[in-house]
C-alpha cells in the first residue's frame, strides 16, 4: 500500500476493485465501511460479483471478468474529456502524459460498455466521483493482478491515480491489499528470483556486490525462475530438486494435474510444513516445523508495518523452528552460519536491507514501524511518494485492453472466477482444521446465477459437475444473484474439489502471475 490502513478513514472516495474486502481483509473493510456510513465517503465498486460491499456502494460497476483495462481506460477517457484531470500534478510530477491521452482516446464509455458490459452512464458517474472527491483511494487485490494482463491492470490503476493527483496525500493512494500475513515481508526479504533484499537487482553487479561482501560468497547474477517456470522446468527435467517451505502448490497453483506430473518428475522434493499437505504427500523428505504461535520473529503487513510475532507455546513433538532447520542444512552443506535466534537473523536483515535499517526488536516491542525506516531515529513512513516517486517522475504507461487467455465459447460457455471466502483460508491447511471456521462452510460450492441455474435445471444444493479443458470437479450449487449471468465462482480451499484442477496456467508475461480470475468451463447437474 502506498498509504496506511488508518489513513483510509480520511478518504472521501474509494475505488474498490478485485477485492472482496469484507471476506478477505475483514478488518480493513471496517475502515472502509466506517468512512462510508459515518463520514459520507463515496464508494465505487468494480466487481463482477454482487459482494457484501455492494450494499455500501454509491455505484457498482459489474465488469465481465478480464476486462479491467478497458473500464479503467474508460474512466480516464471521461476524466480527460470532461477536463477533470489534475494538470498541475501531471506537469509537475509525471511524464509520458501525451501517450496516455492518445491511448485512452478510443475508450469512450460507449466503446467500453461493449467490452465490459458496464453501462456508459455508470462509468461516467464513477469517473466523476473519483476525479472530484478531493481524496480518492484505489484499493485492489488479486482480482486486478491474477490475469494475463495483471501488470498492465496495476499500471492502469497507477495511471488513474496520477491523472487525478490522487497519490502521496492522506486518503489517496494505490493500495493493494496483500493476501497473506507476510507476503510483503517475503518480497522485502527477496524470496523473488530477480531481487536481493530491499528490491536490489541480482542482475546489477553494483547492487549485488554489497551482498557478496556481507555474505562472503560470490553470488549468481542471472535472475532465477518464477514458480510457474520452475514447475515447467520440473516437468521438462531441467529442475531436479525443489525445496518447499510453508507452501502448498499442489492446491494453490493453476492446473494442478500438470503440477502433480511435474513434481513426480523431481529427483528430490523437500517439504517443510506444519501439516502433511497435498504437496507433502509427494515429497521425498518432510521436515516438521513450528507454527506461528510457536516462534519468534516478525511479519510485515500490507501497509509495510514490521510487527513482532511471539512464541506463546512449544512445538509439538520434534518440530523445529524454520530458521533452525535451514541453518542446519546450510551448515551441513559447508556454510558457517552462527545464528542462535530469530533476533540474530533480524539484526543481519537490518544490516543488509536499507528500508529495514532503523528497525530493531526493541523499537517494535509495542507498535510496529512502517518501512522505509533507514535510521534508528526514523519514525517510519506511513505514506509513500509524497514528494517524489521512486524513479523521480511518475511514468504514465500505455496499456491496451487484451482479452483473457481463454474465452468462453459454445463448448465451455461459462467464465469461471476463483477466490477465497471468509471462513476458509488459502489452501485451508489451517482453517479446515479449525472447528469453528470449518463449521461455517465445510463443503466446496459453486455460485451460479439464478437464470443460468434455471436454464440448466440446477437448484440450490444440487451437485454440479464443472469441467474445463484441464479437468473436472464436482461441487454443490449455490444459486443466487451474487454472480452475473454467464459467470460462476468457486473458492479454491477444498482439496476434494480443487478448483485449480480447472484453472489455466496462462501467465502474465512480466510478473508471471497466473490468470486465476478467468477460464472457460461448462456445467451440468449430476444425476
Amino acid at each position: 500500500m502506498t498509504n496506511s490502513i488508518a489513513d483510509m478513514e480520511e478518504s472521501k472516495c474509494f475505488l474498490i476493485t478485485g477485492t472482496n474486502t469484507t471476506e478477505n481483509h475483514p478488518v480493513i473493510s471496517t475502515f472502509i465501511k466506517r468512512a462510508v456510513t459515518q463520514r459520507g465517503a463515496k464508494l465505487i465498486l468494480a466487481d463482477p460479483r454482487n459482494i457484501e460491499l455492494a450494499k455500501f456502494a454509491t455505484v457498482h460497476l459489474r465488469q465481465r471478468p478480464g476486462t479491467d483495462i478497458a473500464w479503467l481506460n474508460g474512466m480516464m477517457n471521461v476524466i480527460i474529456a470532461e477536463g477533470l484531470a489534475n494538470e498541475a500534478f501531471i506537469s509537475e510530477r509525471t511524464e509520458n502524459y501525451d501517450a496516455l491521452k492518445e491511448t485512452v482516446k478510443k475508450y469512450t464509455p460507449e466503446y467500453v460498455e461493449k467490452i465490459t458490459g458496464i453501462p456508459a452512464g455508470d462509468l461516467k458517474t464513477a469517473a466523476r466521483l473519483y476525479a472530484t472527491s478531493g481524496a480518492s483511494s484505489i484499493v485492489y487485490a488479486m482480482g486486478i493482478t491474477q490475469h494475463v494482463t495483471g501488470t498492465d491492470n496495476v499500471k492502469s490503476c497507477a495511471n488513474l491515480a496520477m491523472l487525478t493527483g490522487n497519490i502521496g496525500r492522506p486518503g489517496t493512494g494505490v493500495n493493494p491489499l496483500r493476501g497473506q500475513n507476510n507476503v510483503q515481508g517475503a518480497c522485502d526479504m527477496a524470496c523473488l528470483p530477480g531481487n536481493l533484499p530491499a528490491y536490489k537487482k541480482v542482475a546489477e553487479d553494483a547492487e549485488r556486490k554489497p551482498f557478496e561482501d556481507a555474505w562472503g560468497v560470490k553470488l549468481p547474477g542471472k535472475p532465477g525462475l518464477t514458480i510457474p517456470l520452475v514447475v515447467e522446468g520440473a516437468a521438462k527435467g531441467t529442475i531436479k530438486a525443489l525445496y518447499v517451505m510453508g507452501e502448498n502448490p499442489m492446491m494453490s497453483d493453476p492446473d494442478i494435474t500438470h503440477v502433480e506430473h511435474a513434481f513426480k518428475n523431481l529427483e528430490l522434493l523437500i517439504v517443510q510444513d506444519i501439516f502433511l499437505t497435498e504437496t507433502g504427500r509427494l515429497a521425498h523428505v518432510v521436515l516438521p516445523s513450528a507454527a506461528w504461535a510457536e516462534k519468534e520473529g516478525t511479519f510485515t503487513n500490507t501497509e509495510r508495518r514490521v510487527q513482532r510475532v511471539r512464541k506463546a507455546v512449544g512445538t509439538p513433538g520434534e518440530a523445529r523452528d524454520d530458521w533452525r532447520i535451514i541453518t542446519d542444512i546450510a551448515n551441513k552443506m559447508g556454510a558457517n552460519w552462527n545464528y542462535d535466534s530469530a533476533r540474530a537473523v533480524f539484526e543481519e536483515v537490518a544490516k543488509v536491507t536499507a528500508s529495514y535499517a532503523g528497525i530493531t526488536y526493541e523499537r517494535i516491542e509495542h507498535k510496529g514501524i512502517q518501512w522505509p525506516c533507514p535510521t534508528k531515529e526514523h519514525p517510519g513512513t506511513p505514506i509513500l511518494h509524497s514528494v517524489a516517486f521512486t524513479r523521480g517522475k511518475g511514468l504514465f504507461s500505455v496499456c491496451e485492453y487484451q482479452p483473457p487467455a481463454e474465452q468462453t465459447d459454445a463448448d465451455y460457455p461459462f467464465a469461471l472466477t476463483t477466490g477465497r471466502i471468509l471462513y476458509q483460508y488459502h489452501t485451508a491447511t489451517m482453517s479446515r482444521r479449525s472447528k469453528g471456521l470449518n463449521s461455517r462452510t465445510p463443503e466446496a460450492f459453486v455460485e451460479i446465477n439464478t437464470d443460468d441455474a434455471k436454464k440448466l435445471g440446477i437448484s440450490q444444493g444440487d451437485r454440479v459437475e464443472i469441467t474445463s479443458r484441464r479437468g473436472t470437479i464436482e461441487v454443490v450449487a449455490d444459486v443466487s444473484g451474487r454472480v452475473d449471468k454467464g459467470v460462476v465462482f468457486i473458492p479454491f480451499h477444498y482439496s476434494e474439489a480443487a478448483v485449480n484442477r480447472l484453472t489455466i496456467a496462462a501467465i502474465d508475461p512480466v510478473a508471471n502471475i497466473p490468470q486465476y480470475k478467468v477460464c472457460a468451463v461448462k456445467l451440468r447437474k449430476v444425476a
Binding site: K240, L242, F275, L422
Partner: protein
Amino acid sequence: MTITIDGKEYTFTPGQTVYEVARDNGIAIPVLCHQEQLKPVGACRVCVVEVQGARSLVASCAMPAEKGMVVTTTSERVLKARRLTVELLLTQGHHNCLVCESNGDCVLQSLAYSLGIDTPRFAEPPTVKPLEQANEMIVRDMNKCILCGLCVRACNEIQVNQVLDFSGRGPTASVGPAFNLAYEDSSCVFCGECVRLCPVGALYEKQGRFKSRAGEARKVRTTCEYCGVGCQMDLNVKDGKVVKVSTPRWNATPPNHGSLCIKGRFGFDFLDSPERLTKPLIRVDGELKEASWDEAVAYVADKLAVIKEKNGPDSVAGFSSARCTNEENYLFQKFLRAVIGTNNVDHCVRL
C-alpha cells in the same frame, strides 16, 4: 478554558467531555456503556456526576465540558444514584460469578465491589433463559445481559456488520440479531467484536469456556497468522496451550485497534490438531517413514550436494512462504543464493 472538578480547576479543549477531562487529570469516574472508539450515548448512567446549576445528575461521558462548569464526582447524591443504578442492573438477570468466564474481569462486578453492594435490594427475575451455544464460536448467556448496548454499537459502529440491535420494550427488551434469530442463523459473521466489548459475562468464547479464569492465562501479544492486515492480538496461554485469543476492550494499537475477524479470533485450534507433523519423514520404498533430525538433515544436504554437483546449481529451486516470518524468508533465499548458488527462489506472492 477551565472547568472545576471536585474543587480543582483544570483546562480543557472544547469538544472534550466532562469524563475525558476528569480521566486526563487522574480523576476516576466509573463508566460502563462508554468505550473510546464509540460515540457516547450516556445510556447506563453509571458515570453520573453533579453539575452546579443543572436540574439533575448528568452522564459525564456524554456531557461536553463547558467554560466555568463546576462538577462534583463523588458527592453522596452521586454515589447514591450510582449504587441504585448498579443494583437495578444486578436485578436484571442472574449474575452467578462463581463459574462466569468474566469473573475478575467484569465491569459490573467491579462496580458492585467498589460501591460496596454486598446484597442487592431487589430480587432477581424468576425465569432463567437458556444459553445459546449451538455455534462453535460464541456463547450467549442472556441471563447476564445488562442491555448496555455495547455489543449493538460494536456491531454497527465499529465493524459495521449491522447484525445486532435492540428489540422489545421494558422487561422484554433484548439485544440480538433481527427476529431474535440465533447468531448462526442470522447474518452474523462471527467477528467477535461484541464479545470483545461485552463488559459482563453475557458473551464469551466457546473454545475458552472453563479453560482459564481472568488473570490465570498469560497473554502473549503477537501478529495474526492469516491475512495481510497484520492485526495485533493476545494469545491467552495456560498450561502450555492457547486457550483463547483476545484483544483489550480499549485499544488504539495499529493497525486493527482491537478489532479482529472470525479467523483471527476463533481460528487458532489447528495448533493442537493431532495431524500436526511431529517427526521428520523420509521416503523409503515409496512410503514416508519417520526419521531422526540428523538423518533428515544429512539426507537433504547430501542429495542437494549431489544434484548441484551433477546438474549445476540452477537445477535446484526453492519455494518460500508468505506465511513464514521475515527471518525465515531471509535465510531461505540466502540459502538458495549463497549456499546452493542459484536465484531460483520464489514464493506464493502471485497465488
